[in-house]
Symmetry: C2
Subunit: 258 residues, 2 copies
């Protein structure tokens, strides 16, 4: 089927497959070379960008739905993906004018009593992935899927700027009680590499000496006997995550202040 | 209208007033004399207990819906009430057998295609209130509303034990970056009083000397020139919250490790 037919089928029959009144939107953070980026979709026919999102099938769990949407847009499976907030109070979601205009630009009409025209609450998820592993793919309604630096975000459609802001705030808070980084750093890394990662995510400077001490004290990283030669007689020691402690901390939580 | 007619009206006409597929359940923690309690409802006709909950009106915001449900059950307004997780994956919520049995015990039949028989996702909120200020009231489906010590919870209906567990875990994590206590302690309190509050909420011992130092360093409490006479020549100094710093911390977050 071509896109037009797929969209018409979603309007006509989607209510048989998907849960009404609910959607998922994902803030997918990408980390690469000391920059934090967000995955955005450009809608067809207009200059508008939004977060990737989708609907929940009646037969799937919430987590499975979020994982499916993430995989459809990024090609990545088994990514740490976390709920952080339900959104549903913006004027858009009550009045739906923006969505109607978007679809008009695509020459699509959603009938007034159609399931897609109902007030929709969106469950916000966030994920943190290694930027270069992602193969971004647009969906039915969009024509481009691209990374954007978090400090250079345009005005997004709907309430999606608010979603990104709160996702970033949540991610920063969660760094105090969840370990991160095992999917963002090489298997063996230097202290400056993990230091840069945390500085980028937290958006603040961290002490070069105290920061690694805290991670070592928590037991989530350990020093190896190996060094990496980075030239000019500099050979910093390599470290790796202690995956037993790391996974335990994912389950039980940490308590640390950076 | 009597209860039976109200329930029948909810089954027949509720879909005109309320959002489908979505509900709210509230874990309302009560603090009193060094104990943490949870507000529970006893269902009519069976020995089953659940958390207070309800549906979202099409015309109200999510936060307003949660505040309304809290107020209906407790009589309290303007309570700090926070979303923490969406639940929707338990077998119950897909298959709905437990709900059907509950309603059968009340001689209520929900038709197969009725809006109330649809798969429902529930948005979990939690609140923390001063136990003695609450006037607990049951709802249409329940006959009793009572406090239960969190360490003595029975097996609850649906997935509500899981909801309480995660609410408590979230509350403990949030103590690291949100101030609490202004609605749980007298306006002027002693250091042992706030120490007991945090120990009860965190479920662990806190150092008598270091704990208050941290709160003072954050600027959220301050020492008064007054003392309270508690007999036997003991007159500990009184403290109060610095509400300007407290409210700023509610907005901007703290970073502290207890």
């Amino acid at each position: 089927m071509d896109t037009e037919k797929l969209i018409q089928d979603l309007i006509d029959n989607g209510h048989k497959t998907y849960i009404g009144n609910l959607s998922i939107d994902c803030t997918i953070f990408g980390y690469h070379e000391r920059r934090l980026k967000v995955l955005l979709l450009k809608w067809k026919g207009i200059e508008g960008w939004s977060l990737p999102g989708g609907r929940i099938k009646k037969t799937e769990t919430l987590q499975a739905a979020a994982a499916r949407i993430l995989q459809e847009r990024t090609g990545l499976a088994n990514i740490f993906l976390k709920q952080y907030q339900v959104f549903g109070d913006s004027d858009f979601r009550v009045k739906q004018p923006e969505m109607t205009n978007l679809l008009k630009a695509m020459k699509i009409t959603v009938p007034k009593n159609n399931w897609l025209a109902d007030r929709t609450f969106s469950i916000g998820f966030y994920a943190l992935v290694e930027y270069s592993e992602v193969d971004p793919k647009p969906d039915l309604f969009t024509e481009e899927c691209n990374w954007c630096d978090i400090n250079e975000l345009p005005e997004l459609l709907f309430d999606h700027n608010e979603m990104v802001d709160l996702a970033q705030k949540t991610l920063r808070q969660e760094l105090s009680y969840l370990p991160i980084g095992s999917n963002l750093l090489p298997k063996k890394f230097t202290l400056p590499e993990i230091h840069d990662l945390y500085e980028t995510l937290l958006g603040k400077s961290l002490d070069r000496r105290n920061f690694p001490k805290k991670l070592l004290a928590l037991g989530i990283i350990k020093k190896l006997a190996e060094t990496r030669n980075i030239g000019a007689h500099r050979s910093p020691f390599l470290y790796r995550f202690d995956m037993r402690n790391y996974n335990r901390a994912l389950q039980e939580g940490l308590a640390v202040q950076f």
